[in-house]
Symmetry: C2
Subunit: 371 residues, 2 copies
């Protein structure tokens, strides 16, 4: 056994207690994850609703192959009426559709130095979809939650090893958070049944929280009497400076703006080529539970800023459009954009570092050559 | 200007004449491409038809934002009746649906050493979709191709710089290849209008050829009197040993089998954990214009092979299912799979190297720990 290997399997350990990398070269394992997972190409910011196949996607283990006819959702734990629900049972309840922006908690991780070895996102782990389903509280109310319950535990059908621990993907919410009106059990995305990779046949959707909370491929929902301490709660998704400290849990999405890179790209570097003249720089901004109040653009790498026009959110928890007219004259630019939310939080020029690279929101930079 | 920079823009040049990398660490630019583009998670091999959002996708430049109402397809060059077609004009022609397996010509590139700096595919640049559209020949016949024409040139709405050359994405086919019955202009994928990233509103589909031929976001189709020598024909998509030689054009998909990795994964390394016992290893195999005649499995890293059961292709140009029962006993394995096509071509244990890493088909290896 070498250092950084799992004692039982000998699998190299890149997770908790694993390696951080000090440079800008990436490991094969990171690239394999980047190919498996899916970032939204940033020109996708043009769409109010992200086309399904462009929406970001992070899958920890494998996409389960589930048969919706045979599938059952188990409702259990501290409830008066435990049971098994079919998809038809859930579809029989009054449906709601919400347009919600979802972001991965590790978005921007690959910009931090040293970086944690995981899915190496730059800024593309984002998307907005129309999700259709039923409020979670309507299912929990029917089950009758016992007074002894303090949390709701969600278990997915996806299983694997992470940080040396073999486990089903599980996350919990406090009862207060779980019963919020916007929390849904969803079976459709953009007007069609969920595609397998997005949680078919049923997933959780927790608007304003980073995506790890919205457990896919739900198998079981349990009311529990003590806080849950599984791997994905206590070991992953923490904001901390080292693996030895407990840190704080990752929760709500922080404020961020992204622009559609203007002009046309160079294939490999994605540096932008733009013809001089008037151009409208546009994009989206979001802030979890808050509104976006202000978006600012800089054409001189953050030395000076100008205010963009920001549209109101079409509904809560959904990104907002913004635009800024630029009279581009020949030269080389590093465009930057930053947003400020209604609670006064502004994106930093450079993110504070944390061990897992979680919940960072450094403002985007786009290199543009105007000719 | 430093070596490897474009003389006009100063953009680092990773393309033709650019760097090859001798080791297994990857550049930031490669990882950004891996996040932008989309590999099919290999558990997607379970589906006869790949869910739209799991299908592989390679986009050279940006995904164009096109309005199907305003969009027109220009038919021109050496034809008797040039003109502009609306999407409705094309949808009015008799439609056909074909289930076709598509693969990127650079699939497997990242396994070669040294490797060409580009989208760093391992083996996931694959997918099978139901494509609906009209035979290209039905449109060309109506336009009346002149006897002087020898090729058909396809121009996409996507534009950018590659290898220092600013260009629209363009590829040509010989008249003989273009008029083949299976070559389609498609407007639907898996029963729905194309999503933007797959070529909305109309793309070319050339079954049995690597994906670069199936030009997306078509703007123009021209019959031309001399062979086309654009960047994507003469400079990219060549099998050659160095950038100084012309090499051979990349054309048809070569034989390949892939397995669904058995058991459950370790998150970061994707090493598989499997419980001892009987398990059915399954996957798909394809061979471009040929049939797959034989699929073989090895549990000892290619020293010995056993024959899998191979199903016939549901239709031409579509992958074939295969399965192989394994009585797995505890141990550590490097499973490999290889296919042989009806023309007698068999996948090599290790691919012959070429400069761009094109059309390689080294047999897949999956590490499995059985306990």
């Amino acid at each position: 056994m070498k250092p950084g290997e799992d004692p039982v399997t000998g699998i190299p350990q890149f997770g908790e207690g694993g390696r951080l990398v000090e440079d800008q070269r990436f490991y094969l394992e990171e690239v394999k994850l980047a190919n498996r997972n899916r970032g939204m190409p940033l020109e996708g910011l043009r769409y109010d609703v992200t086309p399904t196949g462009m929406h970001y996607l992070l899958v920890h283990f494998d996409i389960p192959a589930l048969d919706a006819e045979a599938w059952r959702l188990e409702i259990g734990g501290r409830v008066a009426r435990p049971g098994l629900l079919t998809l038809a049972d859930i579809r029989d309840l009054p449906a709601v559709t919400r347009t919600v922006t979802m972001e991965c908690a590790g978005n921007g991780r690959a910009l931090l130095n040293p970086r944690y070895l995981s899915q190496p996102w730059f800024a593309e782990a984002i998307g907005t979809a129309q999700w259709t389903g039923v409020p979670l509280h309507s299912v929990l109310d029917r089950a009758g939650i016992d007074d002894s319950a303090c949390e709701v535990l969600f278990t997915g059908c996806d299983r694997g090893m992470q940080g040396g621990v073999l486990h089903d993907y599980q996350r919990s919410l406090t009862l207060t958070d779980a019963l919020r009106d916007e929390v849904l059990l969803v079976y459709a995305m953009n007007g069609r049944p969920l595609e397998p990779q997005h949680g078919y046949p049923l997933r959780l959707l927790v608007p304003s929280w980073y995506g790890m909370t919205s457990v896919k491929w739900l198998a079981r929902i349990e009311a529990i009497a003590k806080p849950f301490h599984g791997y994905q709660m206590d070991h992953a998704y923490r904001v901390r400076q080292s693996p030895d400290e407990p840190g704080d849990p990752v929760t709500r999405i922080r404020v961020r703006a992204l622009m559609v890179p203007p002009g046309v790209p160079d294939w490999m570097t994605r540096i932008r080529l733009l013809t001089a003249g008037h151009v409208v720089i546009e994009g989206r901004a979001w802030a979890g539970e808050h509104r976006v109040d202000c978006v600012e653009l800089s054409t001189d790498d953050g030395h000076t800023w100008e205010r963009a026009k920001v549209e109101p959110a079409p509904e809560p928890f959904c990104w907002q459009s913004w635009s800024w007219p630029w009279a581009a004259v020949p030269g080389r630019y590093r465009l930057r954009v930053r947003a400020t939310d209604s609670a006064g939080n502004r994106q930093p020029d450079e993110s504070d570092w944390n061990y897992e690279g979680m919940a960072n929101n450094e403002c985007q930079a786009v290199e543009v050559i105007v000719t």
